[in-house]
């Protein structure tokens, strides 16, 4: 009989104990991620059904213990105390039982006696560790289930144990027992327990646990008591607990907290003595790998090789893969274009232009999906194998110098250290950094990386202005970003982030594992999907806004009428040219606009089709589509009338194109975005930016991809033009007096420009504050504008060429970096917490 109420199960355990893997095994595919209220810690939950009903499972953050020192531990503890799950599952690393059992004992003290999932049994066995599960279960009074989460072993028994343990716990009223004997502290624990009993009713808070926590001077526990009893009733208890704490320390010469840990350790040691056999001190494979991989001289080589491999596999090969996926997206665009109302002679229906605009925006984003899939898979391999922790170990010293953290490496790689990445997953990945100040610094440093969407603009500008020194410039650009990022994070660390909490770099180097295919794919798809979901919705929303800002207020009636008259004149000329032509019937009147569209579509299809085979296919397709039109678009050699009509048609199409271009130009100049761009000219002129560039930079805030797209629009991409943007922009800007110096100014601004909208949303999610989100926009804008203006103005004043100026900036920044890195003092832990007691 299924019960109507779902069982609530919490998974607790340490990091690296395979908790998340076991969570996946337990719940299967149906999972959701939410946030714990008020904090940025992920709350993962899922649901499964066993024979007896639904089981709702929550994956608590990985913790070593349940103190109130870290956010994760507070979150886990609050959940256990507040929600009182029916069953807690304690995921235990069987290969490191000694450290894992501390948490088990604390769960028992919390009156949440857990089901012990003895995970990673294979690793333990591989290391020759034998565990007497029966004795362990009997000594602790807990059910024990051996599992190998990575291979999906033990799901059935674990589910069974959860169900039967829940039934057993429901029967026993009294859950508490002395998990640990605290020796000389016991008298004091009893005393505080007595006080608590007299002071009032505690709802759902285990009294013995609270007494121990109060003696440990746990601030959160004190607050909990005050909330439960009120300030007045709680005060005497707190004071007495404090007095007892001091007395204990005076009489035994040991801190209560140390004593508590030592007692637990004694208990754990005794247990281990009883249940664990086999060798454990022998050299493991991990040790042997580390001897090579972490070798002082070889380590940097392995690191560079790894990063290079990620770059090669995901960025280089991924880009090649997009050659195969792009036609799918292009086909989708054609499909949409076919469904939408067809183009008018001069003005397209809004539904059409907006629809295509949206598809184009989405396509630029979706084009990166293959790259991200590979990138995320590669990173999952590195994380799961255990090498990521080694990277942090190797790089911590350098990164720490600049206020970052060894674990900032992953976000920086994702953000695109030298190759191109995306700041959105980069900022997302900062979650794992335990040091708040370093985490914040990383969040603001990541957007300076070379996101993939910046690359097209660089390529464009380099193609126009730096044809000879392209590779040198590319080298400057790709290495300069990390220099800027380090300098900025150092600057922020000693200024605005000064007061943020810091914590030490104390990190486990997990044993190496062979990643499983399933685990890697799951992570890769999950992260890619998050990227599509989070970024996709925003990009679409912003595309609508930018579209509107570019379309409105539009042209005045008078101007519109003028364009209409010109169009009318062109059509009349076409009509006249066809007088006496047998094709006049099918080419004029109602057929005119469809014919012109047909001709334009045909030319575009021909341009897109590479090679003779595809080109012939296009011919066939258009011939079957409309054989009569086709004769005019591609006249048979012998048919003189058709050839004449074709000439007239081509002239008409040309006139239509230039009219449409003029209209678009006027519309953009008069548009809201154009107005904003022009109003910014007084400020941006020092950086050399005219209103067109301003508009492009503004729209690139929506998504970086748009900068090139908007420049494309501004420099008039026509429907069937075969001139590249580089050629058009080069011709036009050079005619306008633009120089390589302007290009350098633009590149620098773009390198320092604020993160795109999607990233700033992610900054909001990760920092939990709109203030920091605003900061992440304003600060880089000002910085970028300042640097660009300085470079452009100084460059103009001293008459330096673009490449010279770029070299000055690069080596200036590099020198500053070295100065800060070598001469600067290391950061003390001067934040809110002091590291060492002053006594």
């Amino acid at each position: 009989m299924p019960s109507d109420k779902a069982l609530l199960v919490a998974l607790a355990g340490q990091q690296n104990a395979g908790k998340s893997t076991l969570f996946n095994v337990l719940t299967g595919a149906r999972q959701h991620v939410a946030n714990y209220p008020g904090v940025t810690v992920d709350k993962k939950y899922g649901q499964y059904y066993d024979g007896a009903g639904a089981v709702r499972t929550v994956d608590l953050p990985g913790t070593y213990s349940l103190t109130s020192f870290s956010l994760e531990e507070r979150v886990a503890r609050d959940f256990l105390l507040g929600e009182r799950p029916d069953v807690t599952v304690n995921v235990v690393d069987a290969s490191n039982l000694r450290r894992s059992l501390h948490l088990t004992l604390q769960l028992m003290e919390l009156e949440q006696p857990p089901v012990l999932a003895l995970n990673m049994m294979d690793v333990a066995a591989g290391r020759g560790i034998e565990i007497d599960q029966q004795t362990l279960g009997r000594e602790l009074g807990l059910p024990v289930v051996p599992t190998v989460g990575r291979r999906g072993e033990g799901r059935g028994p674990l589910r069974g144990a959860i169900r039967s343990w829940s039934e057993q716990l429901a029967k026993t009223q009294q859950r508490s027992e002395r998990a640990v004997d605290y020796g000389p502290l016991e008298l004091r624990i009893e005393a505080v327990e007595g006080l608590l009993e007299r002071a009032g009713e505690l709802s759902g808070i285990p009294r013995r646990w609270l007494a121990i926590k109060l003696l440990e001077a746990d601030e959160q526990a004190a607050k909990l008591l005050e909330r439960q009893l009120g300030q007045v009733a709680a005060q005497p208890v707190l004071q007495e607990a404090w007095r007892l704490r001091q007395a204990f320390e005076r009489s035994l010469g040991i801190d209560v907290n140390d004593h508590v840990v030592a007692c637990r350790e004694r208990k754990v040691a005794a247990l281990i003595e009883q249940v664990q056999g086999g060798a454990s001190g022998r050299t493991t494979l991990s040790d042997r790998i580390d001897r090579l991989v972490l070798n002082r001289w070889a380590a940097p080589g392995f690191l560079v090789l790894t990063v290079f491999l990620i770059y090669q596999v995901s960025i280089v090969w991924g880009y090649e893969l997009t050659n195969y996926t792009w036609p799918i997206l292009a086909g989708f665009r054609e499909l949409v274009a076919g469904v939408l109302p067809s183009a008018g002679f001069l003005v397209d229906p809004y539904v059409r232009s907006m629809g295509l605009w949206l598809v184009d925006s989405a396509n630029t984003l979706l084009n990166y999906v293959p790259i991200f899939l590979i990138l995320f898979a590669a990173i999952a391999v590195i994380e799961d194998s255990g090498y990521m922790a080694r990277i942090a170990f190797i790089l911590d010293k350098v990164l720490h110098r600049f206020g970052l953290h060894g674990q900032s490496t992953l976000p920086l790689i994702l953000g695109g250290v030298f190759a191109g990445g995306c700041a959105v997953p980069g900022v997302m990945a900062t979650k794992g950094i335990p040091d708040t100040r370093a985490r914040m610094a990383t969040i603001f440093a990541v957007p300076f990386m070379n996101c993939l969407a910046k690359v097209p603009l660089y390529t464009l500008l380099l193609g126009i202005f730096f044809v000879e020194s392209k590779s040198l410039m590319m080298f400057y650009i790709s290495t300069m970003t990390i220099i800027f990022a380090l300098l900025v994070s150092k600057l922020l660390t000693v200024t605005v982030l000064r007061g943020q909490e810091t914590s030490p770099f104390v990190m486990e180097l997990p044993h190496y594992h062979l990643p499983t295919l399933q685990g890697v794919l799951r992570r890769a798809f999950d992260r890619t999907w998050q990227y599509i979901k989070k970024v996709g919705t925003i990009v679409i929303a912003v595309a609508v806004v930018v579209f509107t800002l570019l379309q409105f207020p539009g042209l005045s009636d008078e101007r519109q009428a003028r364009f209409a008259r010109q169009a009318q004149a062109a059509v009349e000329r076409f009509d006249e040219a066809l007088v006496g032509n047998p094709y006049r019937e099918i080419a004029t009147g109602e057929n005119l606009v469809p014919l012109v569209n047909f001709a334009t579509n045909y030319r575009r299809a021909k341009l897109n089709a590479g090679g003779g085979e595809a080109s012939r296919a296009v011919n066939e397709r258009f011939e079957t589509l409309n054989p009569e039109f086709y004769k005019l678009v591609r006249p048979p050699r012998a048919d003189r009338d058709a050839r004449e009509a074709n000439r007239a048609l081509r002239r008409l199409a040309m006139e239509r194109k230039s009219l449409r271009r003029e209209m678009k130009d006027e519309r953009i100049v008069n548009s809201f975005l154009g107005t904003i761009g022009r109003s910014m000219e007084p400020v941006t002129q020092f950086a050399g930016f005219d209103w067109k560039i301003n508009v492009a930079l503004l729209s690139s805030f929506a998504a970086r991809e748009s900068s090139v797209a908007t420049l494309g629009v501004l420099f008039q991409q026509d429907e069937d033009q075969n001139q590249t943007l580089e050629e058009r922009m080069g011709a036009e800007t050079r005619a306008g007096g633009a120089t390589a110096l302007l290009a350098v100014s633009m590149i620098l601004f773009f390198a320092l420009y604020p993160p795109c909208l999607a990233t700033t949303i992610m900054v909001k999610v990760q920092t939990g504050s709109y203030k920091w989100m605003a900061f992440s926009i304003v600060f880089p804008t000002l910085l970028g504008l300042a640097v660009s203006s300085a470079v452009y103005s100084i460059g103009n004043a001293i008459d330096a060429s673009g490449i010279e100026m770029m070299s000055y900036v690069y080596f200036g920044a590099l020198a500053l970096l070295l100065a800060v890195g070598l001469l600067g003092r290391r950061h003390g832990l001067g934040g809110k917490r002091s590291l060492v007691s002053t006594q």
């Binding site: 213990s65 020192f69 030592a262 454990s280 493991t284 580390d290 001289w297 010293k397 060492v836 007691s837």
Partner: protein, 85 residues
């Protein structure tokens, strides 16, 4: 052998790679102390200093079956016994 009073207490930071040491006590307080204890760095536990990172900092320790890394800054807050060398 009694130590001279002015000689500062030896810490994990002073232990060369490849040597073992027995932890005496922590100078760190609060969260740092708790974190070190959680990772198994408890008084009277013997640890092996495996190696330091390529740039000399942080260092890698081995205790029980686990590998733990910490910065020299924190290692300098962990006092060790003089005997276990």
């Amino acid at each position: 052998m009694p130590r001279s009073p002015d000689k500062p207490c030896r810490t994990l930071n002073d232990v060369p790679s490849g040597r073992r040491a027995r932890i005496r006590r922590h100078r760190a307080v609060g969260a740092v102390r708790q974190r070190l204890m959680d990772l198994g760095l408890m008084p009277d536990v013997e640890v092996l200093v495996v190696r330091s990172a390529p740039l000399n900092d942080p260092i890698q320790l081995q205790l029980n079956a686990a590998n733990v890394s910490l910065r020299r800054q924190e290692a300098a807050t962990i006092e060790i016994h003089d005997d276990a060398e």
